[in-house]
Amino acid sequence: MSLPEIIRGKVYILGDNVDTDQIIPAQYLTYNPAIPEEYRQFGKYALIGVPGAQGGLPKGHIPFHDATDDFVSPYTILIGGKNFGCGSSREHAPIALNAAGIKAVIAEFYARIFFRNAVNGGYLIPFETPFRLCDKVCTGDMLRIELASSTVVNETTGEVFHLRPLGDVAPIIEAGGLFPYAEKTGMLSPKS
């Protein structure tokens, strides 16, 4: 897998400390992500644990899925505040967002296991910002992330924001996850 140059789509806004129980509540962890039909189900329940008023900021009470979709949400990019993905180690969390069609998350910073899982599993790109982007963008705005320059353009308002560089994990993200990265760097012999 090579990285896309641009990630473009509608954005869904959340606040601080969005924990893994909000991203995918424990009762849905009985699906096995190793089975493709069950993997799809995680998309349906992604973000179902977010309390109504905290979903789809700044207004709130905006559902992540609209009435017409079952598994894939109309949103492509997610923005959160501090400590996104805190709580449990469940890889089902980035899987649920991936199955729902989310390609990138932008947050001030992440809880470390969610970050590792997102990167090592190759499910989505976890970008960080040195400021609170979640207060500057509205749910439903059309965003364009330009990877080469680490910038976000809000096409709805014309504003431009800068992301932090991906840093240490960039080679793993570029490779598509831990396994392809390990093959590329000689840690694993490539699959025949």
């Binding site: 096995n32 400590n83 180690s89 469940r90 899982n117 090592n120």
Partner: protein, 435 residues
């Protein structure tokens, strides 16, 4: 050149290096990999997909599989997941499997790991559960990972880790009888915030820590993840070695590692236990700290004593002291973490009654050893909050929906505070019972 912390020394040793510095990415050798029924099937899927259908785990003696999350449920999918574990154990001929419905069934993985001799000083233990940091109480590096990482470890025995800087928390004095390790760790989390240790190691030190038994030390390390910590760790002493050696039925050799006296800590905070009061975390975050005496009188619907951090034998001894001879005013659920603890409830006595009798006489309900309602789980889970009620609990998390209903309110506190509150039906300061 400055010395290394305990965490840095363990990681350096497992990377075959003389030294590592915070921020360095290193490949480490893993001593024990643990998985359970919720993340095991996904991990096994990654392993098979990446290494092939006929692949073998890197070392069958180093893989430990402990079903514990969704056990006593009619949920067919949950039961199917335990079958996935069984098939894998059979295929790989794995010796360390604690299967449901057998004499080997244990319950909550983190306490099972300790009881069954899988936690040893100086080692690296990774598990597909965020509370794997629990094992840092034994002076080892232990942290939670996801399915992809665990699948990688299964095939290679290695994983890349970023060396964390260490924050040190020093406790002076000794715990008075109305305080427990839960009050200590809720203080720390409240002080530094639920992201205060993100990407960092948290080392606990000082006479107030070394006076604790291993169960209480586990309570401290278990909840470092609630501050975002990568791992929690306590240097091994004689208390550690006595516990580990008594449980080391596998006869494994291990090497005690200690931090250098001139190690560098990124942060240090000192506590005096003589000045600490009972602590509680209000909804909906473990860092939403208050002192119990600020909330006395708040009406409750339920009390829950269980989980890896709050369902150990020491937690039940503490609760029994308060419940003995009294009657609870609200639904009170008792869930031993493991089957060994469940057996002990039937044999340990207080004033001539078993702990089980104390709890039943008080009107509490006792469930079977497992994670149960700590993380909600399927709708028929014992003690699950199926409606928007208010619960006081000895568990480790109170994010929205953690114990079931997302409008429910969960207050986290020590077993002493939970037991005292169960008797009144409102939040109660346990010091009342130590007058």
């Amino acid at each position: 050149m400055a010395g290394m912390t305990l965490t840095e020394k363990i990681l350096a040793k497992h990377a075959q290096r003389d030294r590592v510095a915070p921020g360095e990415n290193i490949w480490v050798d893993v001593d024990v990999l643990m998985t359970h029924d919720v993340c095991g099937p996904g991990t096994i899927g990654v392993f098979h997909k990446q290494f092939g259908k006929n692949a073998k785990v890197w070392d069958r003696d180093k893989v430990v599989i402990i079903p514990d999350h969704y056990i006593f449920t009619a949920d067919a999918m949950a039961n199917r997941n335990v079958d996935v574990l069984r098939a894998f154990v059979k295929e790989q001929n794995l010796p360390h499997f604690y299967d449901v419905g057998t004499d080997r069934y244990k319950g909550v993985c983190h306490i099972a790991l300790a009881e069954e001799g899988h936690t040893r000083p100086g080692e690296v233990l990774l598990g597909t559960d965020s509370h794997t940091c629990n094992a840092g109480a034994f002076g080892e590096f232990a942290t939670g990972i996801g399915n992809t990482d665990a699948g990688f470890v299964m095939g290679t025995g290695k994983l890349w880790l970023k060396t964390p800087p260490t924050m040190r928390f020093v406790f002076h004095g000794e715990l008075p009888p109305w305080l427990m390790a839960k009050d200590m760790i809720l203080s720390v989390i409240g002080d530094i915030g639920c992201d205060g240790a993100t990407y960092k190691a948290m080392e606990f030190d000082g006479p107030g820590v070394y006076s604790l038994n291993m169960e209480e030390r586990m309570t401290l390390c278990n909840m470092v993840i609630e501050a975002g910590g990568k791992n929690g760790v306590i240097a091994p002493d004689q208390v550690t070695l006595d516990y580990v050696n008594a449980r080391n039925k596998l006869g494994k050799k291990y090497e005690v590692v200690k931090g250098d006296p001139d190690a560098t800590f990124e942060f240090e905070k000192v506590y005096d236990l003589a000045k600490l009061k009972p602590v509680i975390a209000k909804p909906h975050s473990p860092d939403n700290k208050a002192f119990v005496d600020e909330l006395v009188g708040m009406r409750l619907d339920r009390a829950y004593i269980g989980s890896c951090t709050g369902g150990k034998i020491t937690d039940f001894r503490a609760a029994a002291k308060i419940l003995n001879g009294n009657t609870v005013k609200i639904d009170t659920f008792i869930v031993p973490a493991t089957t060994e603890i469940a057996k002990n409830l039937k044999t340990e006595t207080l004033d001539g009654k078993t702990l089980e009798q104390v709890f039943l006489n008080a009107g509490a309900k006792i469930g079977e050893a497992s994670c149960a309602a700590c993380l909600g789980g399927p709708a028929d889970t014992f003690g699950r909050l199926n409606s928007a009620i208010r619960c006081i609990s000895t568990t480790n998390r109170n994010f929205p929906g953690r114990m079931g209903n997302k409008e429910a309110e969960v207050f986290l506190a020590s077993p002493l505070t939970v037991a005292a509150s169960a008797l009144n039906g409102f939040i109660t300061d346990p010091r009342e019972y130590f007058a």
